[in-house]
């Protein structure tokens, strides 16, 4: 579609502007000192998170753009773990909020002075796909995304698929936020509906001078439809994947192309260790060690410890994996890291009836124990 044919410019401004207006009001009325919000980089075809204190610097805000360069839970952690003087608001997708909930429980983030504005999520494209789509469309595609969401459909652009993590995501709508920006089923021309979820959210919405909106009538139905479609796909994909890695040979084949760049770990919002053991002197081996291994085995894969890396990371954080899929997006060789973590994660999380991101109160499995559980007793 040519941007000139994309409908009246005014209407488009209305839809996106409605999103921006609220964030702007939060800054103008000093409800918060800064907002963390996705924004187009002028002149570049990417959308990045920006931390903004000046309400006039929100002209390229686009929280609906279907792309997620990195999971902002990590950023909110950096912004809040030392309890800064000054309140911030963060516009976040469901998977980002779920990851943030986990980080709070690991004491890596402090939400006392953070207002989380959760936004309904249609799913996201790989950044390189997003760039191609907006190049083909001659500009941002948020209005098309709005339109799909208002009709309860997953946006679709010829020849492109959402990231697999999003296609199997059961969280099209955020939980654990203070304010909800509802998009599913919302009126396309007037933009999202702003709904305070708790007392803190209500206070912020009041101070910003906004009326709290009513949730769109068909929203619940739409969410159920999207969730069931995506979980059905997830079940199928993950069952097939479980078969593929169900033997050592299968697992080794799937991850044969791993070169241990550790991008998956760098992008993982849950991997919060400042110093990963894989970067520590523990893994600086004596030169002779390599020869010793090669003598023992006759042949070893270099670099070493690629399988150990993934298996260890699974053990260390799969209980809290929220399935945002940034690991797979970060992999230069396209390895199914997300599939591995979601497949194994669902079974491991079930042992403890733990759902990452579900609640701030539930303790992560590694931080607690019960005397009367598991074997041996």
């Amino acid at each position: 579609m040519n941007p000139a044919e994309a409908g009246p410019q005014v209407e488009r401004r209305n839809a996106t502007a409605a999103c921006v207006e609220f964030v702007q009001a939060l800054l103008e009325r000093k409800v918060v000192e800064a907002v963390l919000v996705p924004q187009h980089v002028p002149g570049a075809k990417v959308v990045v998170q920006t931390l903004v204190t000046d309400p006039s610097r929100l002209e390229d805000v686009d929280p609906v753009a279907p792309v997620l360069m990195s999971n902002s839970a990590t950023m909110v952690s950096s912004l809040s773990f030392q309890a800064p003087k000054g309140r911030i608001a963060a516009v976040m997708r469901p998977c980002e909020i779920n990851a943030l909930v986990e980080l709070v429980k690991f004491k890596q983030a402090n939400l006392d002075d953070v207002i989380v504005i959760g936004i309904d999520c249609p799913g996201t494209y790989e950044p390189k796909d997003y760039m191609q789509i907006i190049t083909a469309h001659g500009g941002p595609i948020s209005e098309q995304v709005f339109e799909s969401l208002s009709q309860g459909e997953t946006p679709s652009f010829d020849g492109y698929e959402l990231r697999e993590a999003c296609r199997i995501c059961e969280h099209p709508s955020p939980a654990n936020c203070q304010i909800l920006m509802a998009l599913w089923g919302a009126d396309f021309s007037s933009g999202p509906v702003i709904v305070p979820v708790d007392e803190k959210g209500r206070e912020a919405v009041d101070k910003a001078g906004f009326q709290s909106g009513n949730l769109p009538a068909h929203r619940q139905q739409i969410l159920e439809k999207i969730t069931s479609e995506r979980s059905a796909r997830g079940q199928k994909i993950l069952e097939q994947f479980a078969q593929r890695i169900g033997s050592i040979e299968g697992l080794v084949d799937e991850f044969a192309a791993c070169k241990k760049c550790m991008n998956c770990r760098a992008e993982c919002p849950i991997c919060y260790c400042r110093e990963c053991i894989f970067c520590s002197p523990t893994f600086v081996h004596e030169s002779n060690k390599y020869l010793k291994w090669a003598r023992q085995r006759k042949i070893i894969k270099m670099p070493v410890e690629t399988l150990l890396f993934h298996l260890t990371r699974l053990n260390h954080m799969v209980t809290s994996c929220v399935g945002c899929g940034q690991c797979s997006s970060a992999c230069p060789n396209g390895l199914p890291v997300m599939e591995l973590f979601r497949t194994i994660g669902s079974n491991v999380q079930r042992i403890f009836d733990y759902v990452p991101g579900r609640s701030l109160e539930e303790e992560p499995p590694f931080t607690t124990f019960r005397e009367d559980e598991l074997e041996p007793r």
């Binding site: 085995r297 070893i300 150990l308 260890t312 497949t343 042992i351 590694f366």
Partner: protein, 140 residues
């Protein structure tokens, strides 16, 4: 398979299982010499990484030994170990590696016999299972 001699690595806690192993020795209880012991302060300090590294380097089995519930020198390290090993075993099962290769057992300082029996039992089981398939892979 009869000439297969399993290699077992044991991560045992300083306060209970290591003393139990010592008692097995001083009491001259006979058990197969297939285990190599690493003494740690607590079963709760066993990072699953240690077990995985052992298996990927070709150990046929791994024993993690700790104090009985309620007896941990650090109050609850053994309960934490139990959760970690449960997760590790679930992961091993899902990637097609027999989780019986990893054994978590509570062995007190007075249970020399139990330590010897545990090793004997593990050697028997590992002979049934055969060599660790990871030993033949390129990947470490």
């Amino acid at each position: 398979m009869s000439d297969f001699d399993p290699k077992i690595l044991g991560f045992v806690c300083n306060w209970c299982t290591y003393a139990g192993a010592d008692l097995a020795g001083t009491s001259r209880i006979q058990y197969p010499p297939n285990i190599r012991i690493v003494r740690l302060m607590c079963s709760g300090s066993v990072d699953p990484l240690y077990v995985l590294k052992s298996l990927l380097e070709g150990a046929d089995g791994v024993l993690i030994g700790g104090c009985h519930p309620g007896d941990c020198h650090y109050t609850n390290g053994n309960y934490k170990a139990r959760r970690r090993i449960a997760i590790l075993k679930s992961i091993l099962r899902q990637i097609g590696l027999e989780d019986e290769r990893v054994v978590l057992r509570w062995i007190s300082a007075s249970e020399g016999k139990r330590f010897a029996d545990t090793v004997t039992e593990m050697v028997g089981k590992l002979k049934e299972l055969g060599p660790n398939p990871l030993r033949e892979r390129w990947q470490i």
